[in-house]
């Protein structure tokens, strides 16, 4: 037990240290952005990496969080914490509502039905509800100062986002090492077999979907906290590829993989973009290399290498 706590604590220290290490390179603003993106990748990875359901429409859930937090601040209360809680609830709610339709499907159908919902959401934010969402121009979000939590100050946002990431990490870690974690990994491999172990897989897939949408919405809300305004690009389905790339680069199906992928993707897209204007091409090549050479992503590769070394020593 104590050993477990120590191990978790070590994880948190490593993650914190890693982000402080990249802080001087990328600056406060961007590093905060990295952290938020990592939370998004963690949410996506639960669905794709652990349960084997690839979604092409995860921007919708990020967008729901982003718009909810802005609209809440505009119309209800400028308290940032209440706004974040509202957007978390909105993320869970959309998972509850469209989950039963989506989780019935698998494979390409699952990916595309997510995309379809995302298109609907994009249209609503951009056109249909533009009276409230500001359409293409988007809208700004202002939050009040609450004691120490002055979200106008960048270091405060950085600290809060890092705390959020560590919290998300811990919750997910707990989830995936529980019987539920074994269950969703089993669903990834052979859902029918899980049914014949006496589990109503539909229920668990739905719950996983809700957890994933909730975390994504949380990440969306934090983005608004960082940027201060929302635009339709937060719900743009064509950006779904970012989170998919990040998951694959880092290694699907592991928490560290998601974090490494998130940072690596953001580093490539931020750093490279200032040198090469068409940096996406580099990303394409990187993807090719990953697909052929590093099937399990960066983290999967490192892990394999280390376990092989360890086995070698034993032998």
């Amino acid at each position: 037990m104590i050993e477990k706590i120590r191990k978790n604590f070590l994880d948190l220290v490593i993650i914190t240290a890693a982000f402080f290490a990249v802080l001087p390179v990328f600056g406060l603003n961007r590093t905060t952005d990295f952290i938020i993106f990592c939370i998004f990748v963690l949410g996506f990875n639960l669905l794709y990496g652990y349960m084997g359901r690839l979604s092409f429409g995860h921007m919708l859930y990020l967008g729901v969080g982003a718009y909810t937090v802005t609209l809440f601040a505009e119309h209800v209360s400028k308290n940032p914490f209440l706004a974040i809680i509202a957007s978390i609830c909105a993320g869970a709610l959309i998972g509850v509502i469209i989950g039963p339709i989506i989780v019935r499907t698998t494979g390409a159908c699952f990916a595309l039905i997510n995309l379809a919902f995302n298109q609907v959401g994009y249209f609503l934010a951009l056109v249909a509800l533009s009276r409230w969402t500001g359409g293409e121009d988007g809208m700004s979000a202002y939050f009040t100062k609450l004691g120490l939590f002055d979200f106008g100050k960048k270091p405060v946002i950085f600290g809060f986002c890092l705390f959020s990431l560590l919290l998300t990490y811990l919750i997910l870690k707990k989830l995936i090492s529980s019987p539920y974690g074994i269950l969703i990994k089993s669903i990834k491999e052979n859902e029918i077999r899980v049914k014949f172990l006496g589990y109503n897989t539909f229920k668990y897939k739905w719950v996983t979907f809700i957890i994933s949408t909730t975390i994504s919405a949380f990440a969306g809300a934090l983005s608004i906290l960082n940027y201060g305004y929302v635009t339709p690009s937060f719900i743009d389905p064509s950006r779904a590829v970012e989170v998919i790339f990040a998951t694959l680069i880092g290694g699907a199906g592991s928490l560290y993989g998601a974090l490494i992928g998130g940072v690596a993707y953001m580093a490539i897209s931020n750093y490279l973009a200032s040198y090469i204007s068409r940096w996406e091409m580099f990303l394409g090549f990187a993807m090719l290399i990953i697909v052929f050479r590093f099937r399990k992503g960066i983290w999967g590769y490192i892990k394999d290498k280390f376990t092989r070394q360890a086995e070698g020593i034993v032998r």
């Binding site: 477990k4 707990k174 989830l175 090492s177 529980s178 019987p179 539920y180 974690g181 074994i182 269950l183 990994k185 089993s186 990834k188 491999e189 052979n190 029918i192 077999r193 899980v194 049914k195 014949f196 172990l197 006496g198 589990y199 109503n200 897989t201």
Partner: protein, 259 residues
Amino acid sequence: MKENPILETNDVTINFNGLVAVDSVNFKINEGESVGIIGPNGAGKTTFFNLLTGFFPPTKGKIFFYGRDITDKPPHKRVMMGIIRTFQLVSVFDHLSVLDNLILSNIKSSGISYSIGRFFFSEAHKPALKKICLEALKILGIEKKAEIMTSELSYGDKRKLEIAVALSMNPKILLLDEPFAGLSDQEIVEVSRIIKEFKKGFSMIIIEHKISRIVELVERLCVMHEGRLIAEGIPDQVLCEPLVREVYWGKEDGLVCSV
């Protein structure tokens, strides 16, 4: 023997767009009884299992479990009632450790209560649960392999693991779909021993197409051919029936009527 059917089918039929895979089968199995279903390939044996376990609903007919109509119950509900099956192609989770394969089935039957919160947030390898799983592996003689990836097991060990998973779910009736397919002679002996040793109290149906392997495991034999039950009775008798001999060995074979 007192008639006390645990599982009963009434005119069960399934029609796959014109192909009648299982045709008006009336089948009954008593509590504690072991029945073998034999028949040539494509006779509808596995399809019949799929109907019993709820893989798909029958086009016609009813299925009863302890007299209760379960025709429309989904698979997981039937499993909870105690209808447990294995698959023709070994079906275990290759990307989980051997131990993890046993966790999900043992949670339901171990008696350790799992509330929703504990299911989602407690450590999967709780000592009490782990002990139960390891004991199950010990019986199979593969407890040393508990921590390795299931994909590294031999096919025979995977089959044993699958049977251990099935047994750990406290079956009331166990349906084994060709448990010996693809195993070496020695493994067949081992698996056969495991089945015999742990078949306590519950009923069992075994599908097989090599008759010799199951004769000693079952009390009654049913023969399926083209979706129908064409004969049933004690093994020796069934095998001597002319119709059975015809579908199994062709019209004139000169075989002596023995197993």
